[in-house]
């Protein structure tokens, strides 16, 4: 019975899940005036996620997917779990290195399919995960233009549901050490078991 249960969890329901393209991207935030420190820098559309989820040739009614994002500060370099990875420090570095929670992420698409659509959210610690479309939700078919669309489809046929704009914002104010710091934001697309 145990073996049967494990096999059931592993069953594939979809034929393909992918970001298109899935190449890495980068965003640079340069703070060089008091106004930028105070007002922050926002990059709207820092990246755009275009999703394709195909069903199998023999249609499986259980094909659905989830989309999450995870923060990574390269702890292998000795980075404390709540801080940005330090690449270089300017000055004497006697203060606090930037905290992960200073990075704000906003997800948008025209159908507001994510329950967190349009809301700036923050991570606190390395490997924290934020759901865009949460795992294991009931299937909401493409074309319904509502929350949590997670059925098969793609950004060509249903652009407003299978496309996400990712905005990033940082408002450091005057709390952190000057220097160059880095974080990696990983988007994870997976079919639901």
């Amino acid at each position: 019975m145990l073996s049967f249960s494990l096999v059931t969890q592993a069953q594939l329901h979809c034929g393909l899940v992918s970001f298109e393209p899935n190449t890495s991207e980068s965003a640079m935030l340069t703070f060089d005036t008091p106004a930028k420190y105070q007002g922050g820098i926002t990059i709207n559309g820092a990246t755009r996620l275009k999703i394709r989820v195909n069903n199998k040739n023999i249609v499986d009614p259980l094909c659905s997917w989830n989309l999450t994002m995870l923060i990574d500060n390269n702890p292998g370099a000795g980075t404390p779990i709540s801080e940005w990875e330090k690449l270089i420090l300017y000055g004497n570095g006697l203060g606090q290195n930037p905290l992960i929670q200073s990075l704000e992420i906003r997800i948008r698409n025209a159908c507001s399919t994510s329950p967190n659509d349009g809301i700036y959210q923050t991570f606190t610690l390395n490997t924290d995960i934020i759901d865009i479309i949460a795992p294991l939700l009931p299937i909401t078919p493409a074309g319904s233009c509502t929350n949590n669309v997670n059925g098969p489809g793609d950004y060509i046929g249903n652009y407003d549901e299978f496309h996400f704009d990712i905005d990033i914002r940082v408002i450091p104010k005057f709390a952190f050490n000057p220097g160059v710091f880095q974080l990696n934001l990983r988007f994870h697309l997976e079919e639901n078991p």
Partner: protein, 258 residues
Amino acid sequence: MKRISYVVVALLLFGATSVKAQLIDEKDVTITMDLQPVLQLDMTTPDQIEFVFDNINEYYAGITHYGATILKVSSTVSWDLYAVGRSSGTNGAGFWDQQIDYGSGNNANAIPNLPLSLLELKQSQANAGATAHTGTYSDYSSAFTPTGTASGQNSLYVNAGTNTPPTLAGKYIGGHAGVTGIGDFLPGGSYLTQTGTTSNYYYSIDYRILPGLPAIFPNAYSADGATAQDIVTANVAGNYAEPGVYTMYVQYILLEDQ
């Protein structure tokens, strides 16, 4: 029985290796943040502040220029701000430059070497980051002393004509010497976001010169305010400042806490 066991083991292995078999794709976005240090001192002041002593009252009472300099700080790092008296050194390090010598200039009691510390400053807002100081005066926030009461509480910091920062015994406008992190700095911030009538990022500076009669500049003192540097103390009784035109400059230095 053995065959059944093999089947179960095979199924278990199959199950274990298949748990992560869901289709997955990932995409990374690397975010780099360059926090460049910004230390910005905005200063509003005349090109020259003139003190013209041409009647007796001015020698006795001195001349004060109120609010002649406005200092506004924006800093992304913890900071210190100090003023230091400097000159080109014509009359020696630590003295005003004599541009013109009135009269014959032959009187041995007329001294052309006027200490830079004779200039007095008063800052509008007390230094809120100076509890670590060890000297008598931590800043220039005290009111100018009445005529006739010699004091070094407002005398300008001078270090032999250099711009070296004051020690713990000296005066800072904001912050102080040392990096203990307690009472020796003011935190990053900007005058732009401060409200109310006082701010640690905004200072109005008054200047006073009090020659006295005879003109010995009784409020000239050493950096720690403990040693008088007036003309008589620095020379001999009977000496006085030689009439003439003198120049010097005040350098305001904003730097990361150190």
